[in-house]
Amino acid sequence: MGKIKAAILGSGNIGTDLMYKLLRSPEIELSLLLGIVPESDGLARARDLGIETSHEGIQYLVDHPEKADIVFDATSAKAHVRHARTLSQLGKVAIDLTPAARGPFVVPSVNLDFQLSAHNVNLITCGGQATIPMVAAVNRVAPVEYAEIVATISSKSAGPGTRQNIDEFTHTTARGLVEVGGAARGKAIIILNPADPPIMMRDTVYCRVQECDEAAITDSVKRMVEAVQSYVPGYRLKAGPLFEKDQFGWKVTIMVEVTGAGDYLPSYAGNLDIMTAAAVAVGEKFARHIREKQKEVANVG
């Protein structure tokens, strides 16, 4: 049996970057790029690559439901709320790259195995994808009472959606630190830096723990960095883990940097790259799952 067909909703920066990544996938065949702006650069690029496009958005999929089993939504939180309902009615797997947070949160290196029963999964935020694995890495060795992350991204890589909804970033990321990272409490901070040339995405993770086996935490963090690197090659441990003790316990500090693969946006847009790379990892997992189910059905038949 061949690849599983997938569509991308949204032909902006994220959708277009995701398109290039899916073209390399051994599991997924990108069958459609759906936008709503006929003259968008993303749709033009898709047509040049021989990918079917439409500027009718999700309606095109409603009219041609056989064209995709998996749908990546790279539109906006507001649009996804509407799309989620339609995709569920069509029986499609929805992988949500917006901060709509309708379905359960997924971070491929942390909880990919637990999400296969869901029909709508959410990728949290770029800051969440970069930092939650580190919190989970600490938490599996020493329970994290409080996790705090600071994501600094280049101004150029923050689109109007992020800018107008900056609170959604902090709220959704903080929730992810708890629900997926395993921390008892979470806080997220985002900073936009306009330096030119643009800075790489950098994230600092602070964890409050009481027991502190430095060697075990360091080893766990390094293993987790490798796990993330398997789908985000530009992910790298910049500093730490650093250990400091104060009157309230131990503070573990970890700094990571994300260099983008440069598929559509330049390498400084590591924040977009980590989202699209995570989406591909999640999509491929679903694709394998769908193929197995198809095989079972075929065997029974």
């Binding site: 101004s155 902090t170 330096a195 800075i199 500093a239 700094m255």
Partner: protein, 350 residues
């Protein structure tokens, strides 16, 4: 007080219990704040700002945990405000809309929404919410020295379009000099019809002088702190602003002797160190680095055997913006590695 004919009103905001939290390492207690705020209100300071140094929601590993929650501070000062207005600071990306709603419940009537000088568009939701909550709303363009006068005009216009009643040129690094203050205030004045404010840091010893330069170009809202207590070398000293503005014939409505008494009798005894321009603070002004990096750089310097000045210069070279305190440790680690590579002394030989 002054016999001079009035040249007009200047609206002072005292931020001893906000910017002053930086040198206090956010350790002021609600009771201490209530005493300071009570004194300021008694002296007739029209607007008094209370928050973590990095605004609502700022209590964190990244910026330092405050001795109490935002809620506890606001609740403590609310009963002693008298006729003064209570202001809170909020940096989108750190604080969120629910923080603002909470502050209103405790009687805050002024919200100052702060962004880096080029990033005004992240303040739209917060400025709109603040207006909806009926607050006087101030747009705060931080690190103003990093934006050209044209940029400030453009970004100030955005904040005004979202609903800001006042837009500030905020010299977070204390890096501006009178000419560059004037260029920014005048560009803003030509671009917006709302009121204009100026916020100084004293890293180059120009906090009062720059405030006067801003007033000369039409700024009517000026920030200060008692004893100058604030990030870096501190801010324009409120009691000095009151005295100087009075001598110049501006009305502030503040009682000079009362305000100088609060400074010396209440604030001075609480201070952890004198508010001076030492070499690290001067470096901040000279290199144009966020003033609250001062203590973080000093701590990292001590920990990794470096000079705070070298860390601050490198952080400046990398174009750090406000809030990037985590970059200081990152840079210090790199400098320490470089130092060791150049001079591989065995440990303990020194």
């Amino acid at each position: 007080m002054s016999a001079n004919a009035s040249k007009g009103k200047i609206f002072l905001t005292d931020m001893t219990c906000r910017d002053g939290m930086h040198p206090m390492q956010h350790s002021l207690t609600p009771a201490q704040m209530a005493k300071i705020v009570g004194g300021l209100a008694e002296a007739g300071v029209p607007t008094i700002e209370v928050s973590h140094g990095d605004g609502l929601g700022g209590s964190s590993f990244q910026y330092g945990f405050a001795a109490a929650s935002d809620r506890e501070y606001l609740a403590a000062v609310a009963p002693v405000l008298g006729k003064s207005e209570l202001s809170v600071l909020l940096l989108p990306g750190i604080g969120t809309k629910p923080d603002l709603e909470m502050a209103v419940e405790y009687g805050a009537t002024v919200a100052r929404i702060a962004t880096h000088v080029t990033e005004a568009d992240i303040s739209e939701q917060h400025i709109q919410l603040s207006k909806k909550l009926g607050m006087r709303t101030v747009g705060f363009l931080m690190m103003s020295h990093m934006g050209s006068p044209e940029k400030i005009a453009e970004q100030g216009k955005l904040m005004e379009s979202y609903g800001a009643d006042v837009v500030y040129v905020t010299d977070s690094a204390g890096a501006l000099i009178p000419d560059t203050v004037k260029a920014r205030v005048s560009a803003l004045r030509n671009a917006v019809s709302c009121a204009i404010g100026y916020h100084a840091h004293n890293n180059l010893g120009l906090a009062i002088g720059n405030s006067l330069a801003a007033i000369e170009e039409g700024a009517t809202h000026i920030d200060g702190t008692l004893c100058g207590l604030g990030a870096g070398a501190g801010n324009a000293q409120t009691e000095i602003l009151v005295a100087v503005l009075d001598k110049m014939g501006y009305e502030t409505g503040v009682d000079l002797f009362k305000v100088m008494d609060v400074a010396e009798d209440v604030v001075t005894p609480l201070m952890l160190r004198p508010q001076i321009i030492d070499r690290a603070a001067l470096t901040i002004g000279y290199a144009g680095v966020y003033s609250s990096f001062l203590l973080f750089a000093k701590r990292a310097a001590e920990k990794y055997g470096l000079e705070a000045r070298d860390i601050l210069l490198e952080v400046g070279r990398r174009g750090a913006v406000g809030g990037q305190e985590d970059l200081i440790v990152d840079v210090a680690l790199q400098l320490a590695r470089q130092k060791q590579a150049q001079n591989p002394e065995p440990a303990g030989v020194r």
